[in-house]
Every structure is written in C-alpha cells, then in structure tokens.
Symmetry: C2
Subunit: 622 residues, 2 copies
Amino acid sequence: MSSPVVDTSASINARLRAASPADVRIADAFWEPRMRANRETTLFGQYEHCESTGRINNFRRAAGKRPGTEFEGIYFNDSDVYKWLEAAAWSLGTHPDPAVAKMVATVAEEIAAAQAPDGYLNTYFTFDKAGERYSNLRDMHELYCAGHFIQAAVAHKRATGGDALLNVAVRLADQIVETFGPGKRVGACGHEEAEMAFVELYRETRDTRYLDQAQLFIDARGRKPPVLGGGAYLQDHAPYVELSENVGHAVRMLYYNCGAADVALERNVPAIRETLDRLWADFTGTKMYITGGAGARWDGEAFGAAYELPSRAYAETCAGIGLLMWAHRMNLLTAESRYVDVMERALYNGILSGLSLAGDAYFYQNPLSDRGGHRREPWFGCACCPPNVARLLAELPGYAFAAGQDAVYVNLYVQGEADVDGVHLDVRTRYPWDGAVEIAVNPGAERDFTLNLRIPDWCEGAGLAVNGEPADAPMTPGAYAAVCRTWKDGDKVALFLPMDVRAWQAHPHVEAEFGKLAITRGPLAYCLEAADNPGVDVWDVAVAPDAEWSAEFRPELLGGVVALTADAAVADASAWAGSLYRPAPVEPVYGAARVTAIPYYAWANREAGPMTVWMNVSALIR
Amino acid sequence: MSSPVVDTSASINARLRAASPADVRIADAFWEPRMRANRETTLFGQYEHCESTGRINNFRRAAGKRPGTEFEGIYFNDSDVYKWLEAAAWSLGTHPDPAVAKMVATVAEEIAAAQAPDGYLNTYFTFDKAGERYSNLRDMHELYCAGHFIQAAVAHKRATGGDALLNVAVRLADQIVETFGPGKRVGACGHEEAEMAFVELYRETRDTRYLDQAQLFIDARGRKPPVLGGGAYLQDHAPYVELSENVGHAVRMLYYNCGAADVALERNVPAIRETLDRLWADFTGTKMYITGGAGARWDGEAFGAAYELPSRAYAETCAGIGLLMWAHRMNLLTAESRYVDVMERALYNGILSGLSLAGDAYFYQNPLSDRGGHRREPWFGCACCPPNVARLLAELPGYAFAAGQDAVYVNLYVQGEADVDGVHLDVRTRYPWDGAVEIAVNPGAERDFTLNLRIPDWCEGAGLAVNGEPADAPMTPGAYAAVCRTWKDGDKVALFLPMDVRAWQAHPHVEAEFGKLAITRGPLAYCLEAADNPGVDVWDVAVAPDAEWSAEFRPELLGGVVALTADAAVADASAWAGSLYRPAPVEPVYGAARVTAIPYYAWANREAGPMTVWMNVSALIR
C-alpha cells in the first residue's frame, strides 16, 4: 500500500525508486528522538499555531461557517496548513496515532468544505475577493498554495491509502487545468511549487493532463512578452532551458528545479535535463554554503552572484529543504551518489540548524556567523519554515534508501531497519558520530543484486567487508561502493567511513572566507560558539590548517554530540580598539587557547554569544 | 548678502561658521570641471527628467492646472524637485545664469501655486487624497518632502536673497507647527529630514517655534507606545538620547544625526551632544567603509552590525552625502578637523563614485567590488541620489573653508580664491594629485588671527612654511596645524602634505576584508579595475603590504588621474575550477604581474569588468 515520498515507480527516466517511509524504521539516537518529538510535540504545537493564528479558521470562513469574519493573516497562509497536513499524513503512515488522525480529519474536513463548487480552492479568494481569482499570479501565491495542497493530498494517499483528500485535489487540479491547460491561458505562479505537485499528481493518477500542466507552468516562464513581469527575482527573465545560473528568490528557484527534475523523470526533454546539470554545477560550484545553505542574500531572500557567500547568510531553512528535494530527485534520476552527498550536507547542517534541540523553535535564516543576536523563534508571521521542517522529518525515513534495477541503495546511514525491494536491511551504526556501519542483509531467498553503499564525498579511506572478508569494490569518495553478489539471509556488511576531522578552504573569490578555514567531521560542519569557549571571542580564534582536533563524544552536551577540541591562537583584538583601519601590515598578537567546536546544527541552543563556522587561519602557529 | 549652506552665524554652540559658497571661487582641474558640468549639464538634464517623469506636473496638477490627470510616480517624488531646486539656487548664487534662473522661477511658481490655502504642501495628498494628510507619517514621507522644500527655500534665500520661496516655506512650516507643535500631536516622519530643515528655518527666521519643532520631531521617536511602529529600521526603537549605535535605514539615520547636530548647535542639550559623540565613534569605529560609504546592507538600505562591511556594499550615494552633512555640522560644532577628514573621505570616494565622469549618470549603490554588472544609470524611479549629488556640487565651495573666533580654517584643499571672515585667500594646489598647497593670505589691514590648516588623518610628515620660514605648528595627522601670527597682505603659506601610497588593513572582525589590504594615496582610495589590467582577473591579485607603488599622473586617463602601479602576484584560480571547497591548506600558485590601480571614484566609466578595492595579501611575494 505504502509509497515513496517522490514516487518514481513508473517514471520512464528514473534510475531509482526511493523507499517508502513506512518501510523504514529508524531506531537511532540521532534522528529517532527528533522524529518522535516531531510526532508527539511539533505536530500538535503547529496545529495549535494554525488554529490560534486563524489559518484553519480561514478555511471555516471560506466554507461559510464563520459569517461576518475577515480573512486572517497573510494571503498565502493556506500553504502552512497544507505543509502541516503533509507532515501529519506521513506521520500517520509510519506511526498511527488517533490524536494525529483526529487533527488530520478535522483539517481535511475543513479544507474539503472550503472548496468551491467548481473545484477552486484558496481561502483568501473567497466572498468579496472571489472575483480576483488568478488575477495576480505573480504576487498572490495562489498556485503555490494549490501545489502544496496537492502535495499534501498525494502524501495523504500514499501514506494512508485514503482517497478523500486526493479527490479534493483532483477537483482543484482539474479546475486549474481547465484554466491554464493546453491552448488556454498561459500563466505560472510567482512562487514555484505547483510544478512538482502536478507531476506527483500525475504519478498518483496517471492522468497526463497533470504532467502536461507541470510542463506548461515551466514553459510559461521567461517568455517575451513575459507573463510574470520578466524579472530574475521570480525566474521570469529567460526560459528555464536557457538558464545557466540559479538566480532570484532561492526557495522559488530550488522548487523550480524540483519541478523541472520531476518533468525530466517523466519525459525525455533533453533541454531540461541539460539545464538541470548546468544549474547543479552552478549551485554546487559557486553558490553552496559549506552547511548546504542556499540563498546568500537577505535582500530578496535570494541567490547571490557566484562566490557571494557572506557568513551573514540568509540560507533560509526552506531553501535547504528545497535543495534536499532537488538533490533527491537528481539522485532518483541518475543513481549518482554525489547528489545524496549534497542532500546529506543540507540535512545535517543548514536544515537541521533550523530546528531547536527541543523541537519547538525555528530559524528562518541560518547564518554561518553571528554575534549572539540571531535566535530561533516558535513561529513566524510568514511561517513557511516550521511546517516544512515538520514534513521533512516525517518523510525522512524515505530518503535513506532506494532501489534500482537489481540493486539496493543505501543513501543515508541511520540505525534502523528497512525493507527495500524485498530485501530486509538491519543497520547498526552510531552515525553521524561514528563511521562504523554494520548492515545485516536479508533477502529472504538467495538473490543476485548489487548493494550500493554511498561513500560520502568527504570520506577518504573507507573500508568494506562482507561476512568478514574485505570487499573489492572501489571506495571512491562521492560514488557508490557497489557490492554485486548472491546475497542470502544473514549476510553481514561492515562499512567503515573514517570520520577524520577535515579542514576546508573556500574558493578565493569567496570574499568572506578568504584566509579562513572551516572544519568538518563526517557529514557535520562545525562551529565555534561562545558557550564552549569562555573568555575567548570566537571571532578572534585562529587555527592552523593542520591543527590536531581531538574528537570526543559528550553525552551531556547538546543532547549528545561529538565535540572537537584543538590548540588555537586567539588574536588580541583589543589592539584595534576604536580603530577600524590601520596601516598594513598589522601583525596580530596572539594568545593561546584550547578551543572547542560543536556541530553547527546545534548552535544557539544555549546562552547567546558569538559563533562562527569559518575560522581565521594563523600561519604563526604552524 | 550671501550665507553659508549651514548658517551657524548665531548658533550658541557653534565653534565655526562655514564660508558662503558665493565667497569661494573654485578654479582647479578637479572640482571646477565637475561643478561646471553640474551647472551647465546636470541641472538642465535633471530638470528635464523632473518634467518628463511628471514630477513638476504633479505640482501643476495640485494647483488645479491639469484637471483629470493622476499623480505620477512615487508619492515622495516632490522631494526630488526640491533637491534640484536647492542645487539650482546655490548655482545661481555662485554663477548667475538666466537659463537656470528661468527654470528656478518656473519651479518656484509651480510650487507656490500648489500650496494649499492653509499652507500645506504635498502634491500627492491633494484632491481625493487630501483627507489622508498626515495619516501615515511612517511610510508616506510627507514631512520628509516638507523638509526638503524648506531646505530648498532657505537655500534660495541664502544664495539669491529672494524671499518668495521662503515665504511659501514659512507658511508650510507654520501649518506643520500648528499640527505638531508643543502640546499638539506627537509625530515624526518615517524618514528624517525635517529636523535639520526646521533648524535651518529657525536660523533664517529666528522664530524659535521652528527650533522647538525640530526638537519635537527628534523627541517623538523611541516613545512607548511608539508613534512610528517602534522599529529600529526607522530609528523608533529607542529615544535618540539613548542610542549607542547607528541602526536601520542609513540615510534616515544619518539625516537624524544631522538634525540632532543642528539642535546641538543651537541649544544646550547635553544628552544629544553626548549621543552625537557615541554615534560618531560607533560609525567611524565600526561601520564606515574605507571609501566613506555608509550603510552596508542591501536589505533595508541599512546599517549593518559592527564590522559588517561586505564589499558588496550598499553604501548609497545619499548616505555618503548624509555623512558629509553630519560631519560638516560636527566640525562647525567642535572645530575639530577629524570630522573633516571623514567628510573628505566620503566626498572624494564614496560620494564622487556616485557620479559618472561625464556628469550624466549615477550610482545608487557604491560597492567596493564588482564583477562588472554594476553600472551607473541616468535616472531612477526613486531618484533621490541624482539631485542630492547636484546640490552637493553646487554647495561644495562652502564646505572648503570656515571661520572661528579670530581664526580661519582651511578644511578642503582646492585651488581657488576665498574670502573668509574678511581674509582673502588665494590657494594654489593640484590636490588631490599633489600635496603641495600654496596659500596667499591677504587680510587687507594687518590682523592677528590663527590660520588653521587641516592635516589629514592619512598624512604623516606634513611640512609647513610661512614666507619661506618653517612654521613651528605641530603637524599632527587628524588635527589642525594652527599658525597664529600677525598676518599681512602677501603672506605666503606653503603646506606640504606627503601623498605616500599607504596600505591599510581592516579590523579583523571585518569578515570581508580579512587577509586583504586597501591602498590610498592622499584622500583617495584606489581600486583595481579590469580595464587597466588586461589578462588579469583583479580579484586574483595579491599584493604585499610593503609593495612599492609608483604614482604617475596620466592626463589621458579617466579625465586625468594619478594611477598607481606595482608588482603583484596573480593567483591561478583555475586550479579551483569547479570546486568551491578544497581541503586546507590550498597553497595558491602565483604568477607575476604589474598591476595598475585607479582612484575608486573613477571606476565603471569604461568597459565593464571586475573591480576591487580590497586586494588579497600575499605573504609569498614579500
């Protein structure tokens, strides 16, 4: 019954089919507590926010149940309810819970009741605003909201098997196709989202009108004359197939890429396929934070130019999730592990930082340095990020494994069990704290297939044994180690991914990171935070590229993390007191200190203070 | 008849009175051509823009001369006409021109005709919008526009002696005082400007109601409950006298400081006086670009946090002018030359860059690095900067000299003649290209007074002789060299300001400038631009702190500039091709090149290409 989050079972160009979340049972110390908090706390808290802020009342109002009341909040607030619904649906699929089911039923009922007789659904454009439907696609997020509802309805169907919401979505989609379908009005939403939603609805219904519609939405951008104003901010300056740079609003651009990848999975459109490669190279080669953050600019929540990656990153949590969704689709399209490397980078760093350790507060922006003023908040007026995190956590099991042609893929290393293409996998690991991964492979009957184990791009010197014998698969960082054999129940795979601490430099055109380095261990980017370094301004810390970092798991720290410590130099910035510019060369005066670094995702969970991912390089302390 | 731009003749706390523009005749090769272009080209071109964009028609419409038409453009467009008028008025004062006079008369007549019977004046809030007067002070810039008109009218009076516009301004000011005066409505404009305007109107009329009003506008901010929403963006989060940081929209903050300085010149308000000192230290110590640019952030056109100075600076041209106006007032208040140092830094760099060499195109933002995409434009929808540059150039002579108690001050070194407090000065210099300054001092009858010559803060080793004899005045950078003697006609002062090329480093908390240096020569910041460095990506250039820069005046280059050349290293960035992060340490591979730097203000006047003020430091080529 259960299906993957992105269901490529029948996609003509898919190399992989992701696991269904219901077929994966995560049972580790890292993700399981977070997912449990998501189910037991976050879903309830966000539901309350949606109620208390009028988001659900807007549906009741649209259904005529609240005469005399006004629409509450921002015109695209429906989408937050839909993302919450998607999260709750997947949660029901993996962890049935009557209380969650009751909330889902309530929301589903209110949504269905708010649908107009012709299928149209948007609570802002009702009553006095009904005449303005689709009158301002650029700004009003109408099709964006519709896309999120369609995604939620598809998720509800895939996770629970229920048709009720999917039927509402089909009626809405039909209304949109009647308006924008082939030969009808040319238009697209200022905020991409409907593209991937319509492809998913096609996958669920096999109604090609929806796939056509997704492609029409992509084709509507970049026209002359433009239908969305022609600006790069919302990717209307050029057709998708002519793009060579990720530009404009980052979440929009990344959702656009997701939609394009979804179309590429279903149809042979070489120009789209090539564009995806160009844009991926552009992003990973010039616009990706080391945390997997995307979208450097606060002005316009936008991508910067190539190498424009200031530590005061915008790096919206939603953009990180958009990147993860794009990377996931690219992996399904290509069966190349490098996309999962980026997915993992975003997941463990720039996305996870968006959520407090307690699971009840969120970052909108995920900067790489701070002086202590940037703190998580329990909700936002524009609350796109919190329910986006919730749906990601609910869907997470589905991102860990995939199946190909006579092949099983392990993409994320998480302790737990999974059934992938009939193969039962039992994974034991303390990842991301430890690089030892033991996998018991149980295919039932003996079977020939390839077990593909992702060797992360950060990982040099990986080792692999099957049933105690070294495997001869190449252990190439950034590729899969492929073990092709006849598998039988009880086969044991032992993978070792050395988690050396590594120091990284950025391309010299990254102004903010010149003369600096960042350290990672395994998939985690680290940072220096004031709370661990009393008496030291972490912005003044200078480290050597070859500094010896000691790694120690500290169960009491931040819910249990591997902390890193090293000898470092601390520049005496007081010599600069009052002066902003001094004649060069200014030779810094260094003191010595033992400094402690923590995983970036965990910062800002204690007392406020300076934090930095990038550390100055000291040549003096080599 | 003529008066200074900021007239502190009767200000109780003024140590200085600036020269009147009409008493200074600039006759050099640097400013005179720019001022002439301003008079002969810019004023006419901007007038045409004001006509063609409906800005002047808005006045005609408000006067009832254009029945059936709509208000054109942005609601605060009146202010552009007023700033143009201020520029034209000062131009008439120094260079009478019938064609300019005719334009001024036309504009003055349209403005007067647009004034409502009760004195109110704003062309947006007329007819159907008349009922909304002063209903949204936070956003609608009504008092900002009024302030610019009052400034223009005061300028017209001071420059030409005519009363007609001043009478209109008085009626407008009276209407505002009737609305917002003591014991009446508490309010202020979301965009500061009226504060300094009302002080100037007080200075011109000696009507203390206007000075009271200026102070009331300052006191209206930061209240609990707030009258402007309480946000830091428009400086409503705390009372002025509690501020310790320049925050929010940079032009607003700087204009606020100007208004506060104007009040401090007229009244003993110790808390304001102390706040000015705190904010000056905050700005110059943590928020000032080496170009004198102000306001780092593109989001909100705002000040960043301390040391947040990315090369992708916003540094709005108007903010540079706001800084100059603030610094000028601080100099008048204190007679300290350090304020003029900052004024000069802004004037010769981050303001002048706002204007093309041809005088017909403008930067809104003045970034310190670029890849070639940032170009000047002839006009903007929000056209605050162009007429602001025009009025500055028209007023410029008045900023060069000042008088104190038995003291004459030379603030800017510009070839020309001036009459300051009865002393005729004849200045010969090729500044900013050459540091030799000869001044013939002609007091008429013999007089005892102190001649104060500003020794710029960048200038080490200045020398001074009077009538061929070394003067014994201390030559302290950042202070005035004071020559106190009995002066007689024909006395000759010879000042020598060594214009060594100097390399500067920024405070290590300035992330963008870590491991980099900037070079200056005299008051000018330099940059590397692609046009002078064929075959070299200037972003890859690395220089040694002690590199020997050769200075050469090149008359054919960019209207005549001193270009600087040095041996440098050029990193081979191609080794990074495709990779954004590489394991540290990455040792750069350098080639050698002779590189050429030009004054920052002159960039983007030729073919587009990379530019940078901050250059990487190479330790390898020492």
